[in-house]
Symmetry: C2
Amino acid sequence: MIKYPLHLLKLVDTFRKLPGVGTKTAERFAFELSQWPNDRLQEMAKIIQSTSTELKHCHECGCLSEALSCPFCLSASDARYLCIVAMPRDVFAIEATREYQGLYHVLGALLSPLDGIGPERLNIDKLKQRLTNSSIEEVIIALDSTLEGDATALYLKQEFTHLNVRVTRLAFGLPMGSTIDYVDGGTLARALSARARF
Amino acid sequence: MIKYPLHLLKLVDTFRKLPGVGTKTAERFAFELSQWPNDRLQEMAKIIQSTSTELKHCHECGCLSEALSCPFCLSASDARYLCIVAMPRDVFAIEATREYQGLYHVLGALLSPLDGIGPERLNIDKLKQRLTNSSIEEVIIALDSTLEGDATALYLKQEFTHLNVRVTRLAFGLPMGSTIDYVDGGTLARALSARARF
């Protein structure tokens, strides 16, 4: 057993909680911090410390925001569309395309029975409330193309059947720049069945 | 421009200071933290905050330690050998081999004129003091095989000429598990010239 100082082990443990960070990378971060001047350490600690007070969730859509109303809700120019995403980062990804001017709704999670995440963990009550009290004509389901994303999309579709809205989901097909021989069979099959007039 | 909340940008900026972390990874870390419960954030902040008080540098060898004397200095069973390394992490890497029972000395940096790092930035005064007042017979230079490592090794060799110690450097050659056709020419040339009776 290598005799790491206790505090170094604590740093390694805390960095290992970050996504995609294993022991080796966490050790690298920890050794880096051990070289930092104190003011830099204090600055990082202060920013992390104030995260839950500084970062709020929009009361309307659930996205991350500095205030209780987010700029996406305030600036949406076309309130006929509501795009449902899993996490706040998905909102920023869709905004970056500049292709969408409608509203968003962040679920905060995807259904995953194996991880104990059921419908009650999703931000759905607020979603239903928004759909009944508004002029939304189309709900766009923009969830991951994974087992959890598919399950959540199906669940949402059932929940919306009695509502007077069009429900759509992001298209599946070839990613831009891909070659036919490298694309997986599942994607190719979906691209074939969803072929469009050219 | 994507409308990230200000605090999210601050988190991204602070994580980008970690080694090997670019904007994409820093954003991933920042979004992850925005989901964490407050006690977890406070815990991480506290650990980072106390780093400069909790992690000390050994007064003797300069390695990271919980106390002012490190376990490597206290437990070295063969004080005839002194291994010179650049950074504390190198000490832990050599300890993990279980092949060395001697003392260590951490320089804290490598000579790099382009980055403005000259001999005055290296922990050398203490090194000379240790070498003159002790029974050290051999100094093992265990520095990176890079431009900076080579420059520092040469500088140290010159500094030690008037001292009555044997100066050695880690061997260069094929890394374990490598194949001749994939090893670079420089390594192969060093391995050839340093060939040993088999």
